[in-house]
Amino acid sequence: MGLDRFSEILGAKLAGKSAVAPDHRVAEVKASDLADACVWLKDHCAAFLLDAFALEDYSQPGNYRVYYTFDLNAGRGGFITLWARTDAQQPVYPAVSPHIHAADWFEREIFELFGVRPAGHPMLGGFIFREGGEQGLFPLRKNRPNENTSRLPENRSAAKTSAGIVEGEGVFEMPLGPVYSGVAEAVHFTLSSIGEETLWVSPRLFYKHRGFEKAAENLSPEQVVLLAERISGATGVAESLAFCQAVEHLSGLEIPERALYLRTVFAELERIYNHVGSIADLCESTSLAVGTAQGYILKEKLLRLNARLTGHRYLMGVNCPGGVRVDLDREKIGLLRETLKEAGRDFQAWLKMLLATDSFLDRLEGVGVVAPATAGDLSATGPVGRASGVDRDFRRDHPYAAYSRAQFAVPVCTEGDCLARMKVRQAEVEQSLAIIEQLLPELPAGAPANNARPELPAGGSACGYSEGPRGGTLHWVFAGEDGLLWRWRVRPPSLVNWHAYPVGTEGCAFQDFPIILASFGLSPAECDR
């Protein structure tokens, strides 16, 4: 319904329609109309900004395009992508972020990776690259080499790592990271506090930026799968699944029925061990030692199950374009059901005890609140979004793999605090166990993969998506010559959830900072790529 009205009002701006994924329409608009069109979509179709990125035009290198992808209101439409060409001489276009706040970080990426300037964005530069570092490098432009010849850093005196975000009498600014605490991912925080109260926490990401999107250029899809699995080691199945679905759509590769079921099973196994790990991390942040130990025992059991089923503890190497590389025989299915039955029991007992431990709940209830309206504005995804009333899940709204054949609920809370995020994860584990239990008896016979090579048509594009443990992930694949990749765009869930994270820490007590961080379950590796 929404789409028809869009066609009517923006009809003149719709230069053409093409499907880049099932249920995904693409329309070109003029760069000057882009912001208006995005706002119109948001206001009239309840569209939810998923991603924005730039691309060097395949047919006219040196010219840049910007893409804005939206998810229409749940269950009432698919995806829609608006794109615009920017002028070759001066790649500038009016920014969308002043109107749609969720575009903020995407536009900062667009500027630093491509040198395409979203005019009107209040804070460009210093996002991915450090001040004075690679500013002006624009590494994703095709005429830039994929190498870095810069000298080794010298023993410089400590540079100021962040601008004073909160200023005033008695405000103390505490820098934390990128090397901090025992074993933690590299990320930098600036905590501005007055006494016990934290006014604002500003995360500084991209310490772990590894240049995966550029590294994938001129590689074959089979090779890029290896990179996709390693964007974030803990969500390799979700990322590689989204990538493989994009490749399969673009090349028209048929996927055997059995592969669809197996992909669903592996994706749910990944969700289960990740959520168990997240809840264990939450116990650790509240210093609940026995609870933490019990959680990690359960996680280790699940990781060992993964290794016995697929040969890899983190399920890497499962997906390939055309299907899955690992088949489950009768013996393995028996092992899987038996272990999950036991793990499900252990999980219930563990959660029952956690939810009866007052000292634990006191640290979570009403702490780190992200209000539903804010979560919606920031496009929060996954358990973080669903704990704040963002009722969106790609598995239900745009079913892929074998999700349309399973009955499951999408748990949603509206409290938006640490406890709600834990409860959403708990309910999701229960649903995941049920999905696997439903699909295993119906596993169709046949080959687990189509061994034909995916042929990518030059200049073609496709979008794949999946719902990982941390939320929805989006992969765009643009093909170049010889079936190799021209551009690979990844929008991992952590990129949007990190954007929402500071909201949850606003006004929190100093000691609640690690608890809120653990409850978000964020990954810098996934965000930084």
Binding site: V183, K208, F212, A307
Partner: protein, 259 residues
């Protein structure tokens, strides 16, 4: 609170007996490609061609089987999949770490370095304090390093401890390919450590450059920045592989014999 005590007691001891006894519970480590006995055709080059990270090599000197550099290996097992003669098979190999004798740093000459490194290893034999630096890992290495502290592996029983300050650390455990943005933080952490200090590279990224290799975002490989003493291969290295590596670093385990 009391019920947590009972819960902990009821769970019993789950800790592995490794290294005193072999860990034989399946699933503690993943599959690794291994060279099985046999002679492969000299014209077939499939394993070398399919290897994404350049870990599989066939040299003219050895007409028999290919050689796998585990430091670079991503353990994707594609080489074993394509091998028509099944010369490369799947093995239960997890003790993969090997020494690099980078110790001392300021000492030149191979013999001097080896002597200095051996001396440092003797010094830390009973207890080793480790500072971990994440220099751009995909999080899987980090999860496995974190798993060392869980009740299954419990590295404290072997005298290994993670410390917060580099000033307290004897060894620097690094995962990730060393991104441009982490270079300075890594070097500062290293400089803050008292000598003698060990540098341990964990995982395919730190050990061999990783899947993305050097590019605009990762300018220098770890061995170009710091003298690496020990390499722990794996993508990611499992907890037992890491434990073996740490024991090897302090001279309490023999070097892997997989060649």
């Amino acid at each position: 609170m009391a019920n947590w005590v009972w819960k902990g007691l009821a769970a019993g001891v789950v800790t592995t007996r490794y290294p005193f006894r072999r860990e034989d519970l399946p699933g503690a480590f993943g599959a690794a490609p291994v060279i099985v006995e046999g002679i492969c055709s000299s014209s077939c080059n499939k394993c070398v061609e399919i290897c994404f990270s350049g870990a599989v090599k066939k040299t003219s000197g050895c007409p028999g089987a290919p050689v796998i550099d585990y430091g670079k290996c991503l353990f994707c097992l594609r080489c074993a999949e394509v091998c028509p003669e099944k010369i490369i098979g799947l093995g239960n190999l997890f003790e993969l770490a090997c020494l690099r004798n980078g110790g001392g740093g300021e000492v030149t000459g191979e013999a001097g370095k080896a002597r200095k490194a051996a001396a440092a290893r003797r010094l830390f034999r009973r207890s080793l304090h480790i500072r971990h630096v994440d220099a751009g890992s995909c999080e899987a290495c980090l999860a496995e390093i974190h798993a060392l502290s869980n009740p299954y592996y419990d590295l404290h029983r072997l005298g290994f401890f993670f410390v917060n300050s580099p000033r307290h650390a004897d060894a620097l455990l690094i995962s990730g390919p060393v991104t441009k943005n982490m270079e300075e933080a890594l070097l500062k952490t290293y400089r803050a450590m008292p000598a003698p200090r060990l540098v341990i590279a964990a995982g395919a990224c730190a050990a061999g450059g990783g899947p993305a290799g050097t590019n605009y975002a990762c300018a220098h490989r770890l061995d170009a920045l710091l003298p690496v003493d020990l390499v722990i291969p794996g993508c990611p290295p499992g907890p037992l592989t890491l434990l073996h590596g740490l024991l090897l670093a302090v001279g309490r385990a023999p070097e892997a014999n997989y060649r």
